[in-house]
Structure formats: C-alpha cells, structure tokens
C-alpha cells in the first residue's frame, strides 16, 4: 500500500482555520492526510506540541497563522514567528529532516492558498517517507 | 579453590560465562566505566577504578516494567511481565558495592514485603567481587573504611578476584561460587604461590586507607536526632546543594522508586522507575501540599535516612562509603564532611 502520511496541522482560529473552512466551502480538493487542530492564536502553540506530535507518530507538522500585521491579537504571530523559527532550527540540529515542519501565513480569504499549501506539503512528506526518528517505537 | 587467568584473556572467561547465562560486567564508555550486559566478550574491561553508576541496577533496574495493559479492559487481561532469568554473573564488583547488596536485601528480600523481581535476580546471580588495585592511589572521595569495609574484602562475594600483575586470581568464597569455579574448566588452577599472594593481598587490603573517622552508629544516630531542628546547620551544609538527583542515582544503597503508568493509544505499561528524595516533586502530595519544599529539608532527609532512621529501624547505616555521591556531585557536596561536621556540632 502506498505511504499515506499523517500530518498534524495546527491552525489559528481567526485566519488559517477560517481559510481552511473557505477551502471546504468552495469545494477545493486537498489531501486528507492533514488533521487540523484549532488554536486561538499561533502564539498559543507550545513547541512541545510539535515535539510531542512527532513522537506520537506525525510524519509532518504544519502550523498556520495570520499574516504578520494581521493578527487578531495584534502581535501574537510576531512572537510565534520567532519561537517557531527556533523550533525549526532545533529540529534541524537534532537531525530531523527540515522539510517535516512548515509554517505558513494563510488569511481567512485564502482558501486557495490553504489547499495549495496542503497539497504541496503532503507531496513533500510523501517524498520524505515515514518519520521514524522521533516516533516512539513500540 | 583458586584459579587464575591472564588479564588479556579475560574475554575468553567472559565468553564461557556468556554461554552459561547473562554476564554483567564493567565496560568502558565515553565518560567512564559502567556495568552493562555483555554481548561482545571483548568489551569486558577490568581497567577501572570504580563504575559511575553503582551495580545496584543489575538487581534493581532504573526502569522495571511490571504489567502491560489495555485501556478499558479488565485488570485480569493485563499481562504481567515475566522475568525468565538465565543464570546471571555480576562480574568485577568492588568490595564496597558488594556490601551494598546486603543492605538492599533488607528492603527487598527480608523486611516486610519481599520484592519478587529483586529476589529472583539476586538468587540467579553469582557475584564476582573484585579487590581494588592496591598499587594505585585511593580516590579522595572514598571513605568505605569508615563503614568497616576494606579494599580487598571478600565478604558477600561468591567468587572473589584479585589482580596479580597480569593475572587475575579467582577464589570461590561461597558454595555457589566454588561450584561455579570448578565448572570453569578452561581456566587453569592456581599454584601455591598464588594462594599465598591471594591471602596476603586480602590482608594488605586492610592497610589500604581511605578517609576514615571513628563512626559509632549509636553516637551518629543520636547526634543527628539532636540536631534535626538545627536549621542553621542544615542550611549551611546545603547552601551549595542544587537538589538534583545525581547522588541518589549513583548511590548503591538508595532504593526509592516511583510507580508510573505510561499509556499511549490505549495501551500502556505500569513500571517502577527510580526516584530521588532530592527532587522537588518527591514529597508532593495529591492535595498539592509539599512537606519538603526547601533544599535543606531534602538534604537533611537524605543524610538522616542513611545515618539515622535506617540505623534505628534496621540496625545498620545505609551507606557503604563508595564515594560516588561526592565524586559526581556537580557542586562537590561531601556526605563524609557533613557527618564529620554533624558530630562536632
């Protein structure tokens, strides 16, 4: 059977999640590998969520937030940008494939972008194959 | 019965023991030596002073799985972890560490509830004690003399080993040890000169001096009881303490543990994991109350447990003076100096 990756998507309530809704209501097609969790803001994401997701078997993690300057809470995503950049560097230095973690700014009106990003990211993860490094071995 | 083998042929002896069962012996790691299960006989390395971690993990592993269970299923369906032990050989244990097993036996094999895991492992194991190298200088952290243990003390070992130049002399001490030694046909018998050397080595071991103070159990116990409320004293001796778990984890006689459930995706394991009285959450109660929030309280507990409560309850000091806690303490807190100071207080 072809490899179907498990991808965790963490989306902010105000932009990316609404963007995902829009993608749905406009009947855009995107892979079903993404499991979306809604958070109130991208800065709510504790980096441990991402480490934990990889440990519990995620092949990729995608984080979506409002465009910088657009944050519902004015500055949340600006903090998140710095924090998630560090997360990415840490995962990379630990030896995880850099392509497994992705952050995108997707606004509520960008249903198209959401679908495109998910398609692209899923293809990329499929290419990388299953994530075995951080995953807890049974 | 005395036998001998060349030190550079130790791997041959190891290979024989591996055929008979599980061999646990010191191996060289990046940071120093440690006991490990031997899979490659070449790895056995007797060129060490003492291991970083104590050999207690051979009987009382850092993590011990008890049962595997499924969430939502009755407890009767949980599977207990069965040990299925082969004979075990614990090779190259220093005399002070051998003594620690007798103290640990009190908790796991004698008083109150018997721990089946400890007992099964202990019964399956033949202990090869190994005298300290008397030609080398003693580590300044050690103080086993204070606890009445000597550098070449065969007491507690099944087989005791002594280094003679490039050879290793092995002597059976207990019945179990003698029987095993007689089965080891590949190694040669010792000569009369070797026997003499062995006996003299044991005697000489008494002159190999570590730090020493005259420690009377009753006096120290009483003293620690008297100064329990002397907060000034305890604050002073603990002012450097970081409250990490190094001392407890490397200690051969610390036996506190925590029972943890590790559940994922509906399956889980209930296991025992070492715990340390120096951790903040060690005494944290379900209500949120923590009776030992201060570092000095935790250090006081640790020292009192070893040198006071343990004596009152079981009649022996729960310390063998191996010096590990002092050697590996990130801030060089020395339990020996604290006891010395306590007596003077």
């Amino acid at each position: 059977m072809a490899f179907e990756p498990k991808i965790l998507g963490i989306a902010c309530n105000w932009c990316t999640y609404t963007g995902a809704d829009l993608a749905g209501t406009t009947r855009l097609l995107y892979p079903q590998n993404l499991r979306v969790v809604r958070v109130m803001c991208s800065s709510r994401i504790n980096p441990s969520f991402i480490f934990r997701a990889f440990q519990l078997g995620a092949d990729g993690v995608f984080v979506g937030g409002c465009h910088p300057g657009d944050c519902h809470y004015n500055t949340g995503n600006l903090y998140a940008r710095r924090r998630l950049a560090v997360t990415k560097k840490i995962l990379e230095f630990a030896g995880l494939e850099p392509g497994r973690f992705r952050v995108e700014w997707i606004s509520a009106s960008e249903g198209n972008k959401f679908a495109e990003v998910v398609q692209e990211f899923t293809a990329q993860i499929k290419n990388l194959g299953p994530q075995t490094k951080l995953k807890i071995q049974k | 019965m005395l036998k001998k083998t060349a030190i550079n042929k130790i791997s041959e002896l190891a290979a024989v023991l591996m055929e008979k069962g599980t061999l646990i012996a010191p191996v060289k790691e990046v940071s120093g030596h440690n006991f490990a299960q031997i899979l490659d006989p070449q790895k056995v390395d007797l060129d060490f002073y003492n291991t970083i971690m104590s050999p207690k993990s051979a009987f009382f592993p850092h993590k011990e799985d008890f049962i595997n269970y499924k969430v939502g299923k009755p407890i009767s369906e949980a599977e207990p972890v069965v040990l299925n032990l082969k004979p075990m050989f614990l090779f190259g244990v220093r005399p002070c560490d051998v003594k620690s097993f007798q103290i640990m036996d009190i908790h796991f094999n004698a008083a109150g509830i018997i721990d089946p895991y400890w007992r099964q492992r202990r019964e399956a194991t033949t202990i090869f004690g190994y005298a300290f190298d008397l030609s080398k200088s003693v580590d300044s952290a050690d103080f086993y003399n204070t606890l009445g243990i000597y550098a070449a003390d065969p007491d507690g070992s099944d087989i005791f080993m002594v280094k003679k130049d490039n050879e290793l002399l092995l002597k059976g001490i207990t019945l179990q040890g003698k029987k095993l030694l007689s089965e080891l046909t590949t190694i040669e018998n010792g000569k009369a000169a070797d026997k003499k050397y062995f006996e003299e080595y044991i005697k000489k071991g008494r002159d190999y001096k570590t730090r020493f103070m005259c420690l009377d159990q009753e006096t120290i116990t009483k003293k620690l009881e008297d100064i329990f409320h002397n907060t000034d004293f305890w604050t002073r001796v603990s002012s450097a303490c970081l409250s990490c778990g190094v001392c407890t984890f490397v200690c051969p006689t610390c036996y506190c543990f925590d029972i943890c459930d590790d559940t994922q995706f509906g399956r889980g394991t209930r296991r025992r994991v070492w715990d340390a009285c120096m951790f903040t959450d060690f005494t944290l109660e379900a209500s949120g109350h923590n009776p030992r929030t201060q570092v000095y309280q935790r250090l006081r507990q640790k020292i009192n447990h070893k040198y006071s409560y343990h004596v009152r309850k079981y009649g022996v000091i729960s310390c063998v003076g191996c010096g590990r806690c002092t050697r590996y303490c990130p801030v060089s807190i020395d339990i020996y100096s604290i006891i010395e100071e306590a007596i003077k207080t």
Binding site: P47, S48, F51, R52, Q55, P68, G69, T75, L78, Y79, R81, R82, L84, A85, V86, T87, K89, I90, L91, E92, F93, A94, G95, L96, E97, V103, W105, K133, L134, I136, Q137 | E29, S31, I52, M53, H62, K63, S140, S239, A240, L242, S243, C244, G245, V246, T248, F249, C260, D262, R271, V273, F279, T280, V295, Y328, P330, V331, S332, I333, D334
Partner: protein, 287 residues
C-alpha cells in the same frame, strides 16, 4: 594563567568590607571542597565565614544560579566570571533579580579547568570571554591579548555532519541520560517551579530514562533556553554521564544571534529575544 591567589585575596577583602559595612547580607563565592580540585559554591553570611573563601582554576560553578534562591530584596554580593555576569544580566532582564540589590564582584579570568577531566574549558565549553560583562568591583586586572576564539567554533564539526549522522549522535548521547536533572539544576536560567518535566497535567514525558522521554526533556529544555543560554557550560560539567549539552545550547544561541541580532545577557536594557519581536523580522527565518 590568571593570578588566582591575587583574585582570592581580593575576593576575601571585598567580601569582608561588604559584610562589615552591612552592604550585603550574603556573599556568594567559593569554598574548599573535599580536596583542592573540588571547590564548592559557598554562601558567606558573616565575617567569620570569610576565611573559608577560596578561588582557584576549578571554581567553575556559576554562582548566579543561587541568586533566585534568596527572597526578593536580599542584598547579595556575587562573584562573577565572564559567563556568570551574563547570567546575572539575563536574570535582571527577566526580572528575577534587581540590579540595585546586587553587588557584582567581577573576576577576569582564563585558564579555568574542568575538575573531572582537568582540561581547560575556555571557549570550548564556555562563552570564550575573559572579562565580566558587568561588574561593580573588579577583583583582578582585566585580561587582554588572549587569542580570541569564537565560542561557536566547536560547532563546525557538527554542522558539517549529515542530518542522519547528527541524529545518531544526539540519540546516542541523549540515550545515556539518567534523568537526574543535574543539568537543569546547575543552570542559572532554569528557575521554573515546577519545571515542565515535573508536571503531571499534562505529563509531557515518561519518567523513565529511555529514549522518548529523554528526547522530549532535552529538546524542550534546549528550546526553553533559546536566546537565554549564556553559555557557561555548567549543564555539561554537572552531567554525571558527560552528555555534551553545551553543543546544542551553543547552536541554538548561535542561531538566535544570527536571526535576531542579539546575544543573551550582554546588555541590561535588552529584552530576551523570544519575549520580544520586531515587525521587520523576516519570514526567511522560517524557511
């Protein structure tokens, strides 16, 4: 090598003066341990304690670690080497201590040694600075003319590694961890109570010393120290199994410096990089 005897004399002199004048209630310095090679962190609280103070090449401990242990408002004098002074600055930035309650006894020094291995720790496992960044009283002549080596130079070898080799390296190193938590306890920046790893709701990682829990603990700790680690190397020296944690901390510090243009604990008026942002931060850092 620096003049350790001179520093020790000055340390005693200043400690005596400060305690006598009642300017401080405690002086954080070093005392003799069980042997010469193992000095201990020491809190001198009275003039009588001063005779115990020592200073030699093994006094690596970062005394800033003990600052948060005293109630807010306690007047404290603290002996600081270069990295330690950065820790103090960082703690002031994070409002854990107040500048006006501290007297910093600066120690310009090089040639400090690891008491376990005896090797010199300059720049390899510590920040490579010789002179304290911030001090009130300097206890020796400022050090000049030392060869300047970037503290990040040791990273080159690991950065050049293939990602799989690097993963193998870290997995092997972190698998050694016995979870004694000496690293976090020795760290001047680790003052959380409770630490995330001690929390039971949520339980972030298993308590057993095995791969997944170790990985979770260390990766998260590296993250929590991002932009805050002042590169004193105490975590690695405290480790009983010698995990080179300093390498990872250095790497994260280097990345933070490159991305946000600010090293930890260098200026009192800075804000820690992860509780700060700039609108003009580039999205490139996420690529």
């Amino acid at each position: 090598m620096a003049d350790f005897k001179k520093i020790e004399e000055n340390l005693k002199k200043e400690a005596k003066r400060l305690l006598e004048a009642g300017e401080v209630t405690v002086v954080l310095a070093y005392s003799k341990g069980f042997d010469e090679k193992h000095p201990m962190p020491y809190a001198a609280k009275s003039v009588a304690d001063i005779k115990n103070i020592v200073f030699n090449e093994y006094c690596n401990h970062n005394m800033a670690r003990y600052l948060v242990r005293y109630p807010q408002g306690t007047k404290i004098a603290v002996a600081v080497k270069a990295a330690d002074s950065r820790a103090v600055i960082q703690l002031i930035q994070e409002e854990k201590v107040k500048r006006e309650n501290l007297v910093l006894l600066g120690i310009p020094v090089y040639g400090m040694k690891n008491s376990k291995t005896g090797e010199v720790i300059d720049s390899k496992t510590t920040s490579g600075l010789c002179n304290p960044v911030l001090y009130d009283i300097l206890l020796g002549a400022e050090v000049h003319g030392q060869k300047i080596v970037s503290p990040y130079e040791v990273l080159a070898e690991y950065e050049a590694m293939d990602k799989d080799a690097r993963w193998e390296f870290w997995k092997n190193q972190l698998d050694k961890c016995i979870r004694c938590y000496a690293c976090r306890k020795a760290c001047p920046m680790c003052y959380c109570d409770p630490c995330f790893i001690d929390q039971s709701k949520p339980r972030w990682a298993d308590k057993a010393p095995q791969s997944p829990g170790n990985m979770m603990y260390h990766l998260t700790r590296f993250h929590h120290l991002a932009g805050r680690c002042i590169d004193c190397g105490e975590c690695s020296r405290a480790c009983p199994v010698d995990i080179p944690l300093y390498l990872f901390h250095k790497k994260v510090a280097k990345e933070c410096e490159e991305m946000f243009g600010q090293a930890a604990g260098m200026k009192l008026e800075d804000k820690p990089v992860l509780v700060d942002f700039r609108v003009e931060d580039s999205d490139k850092i996420l690529e």
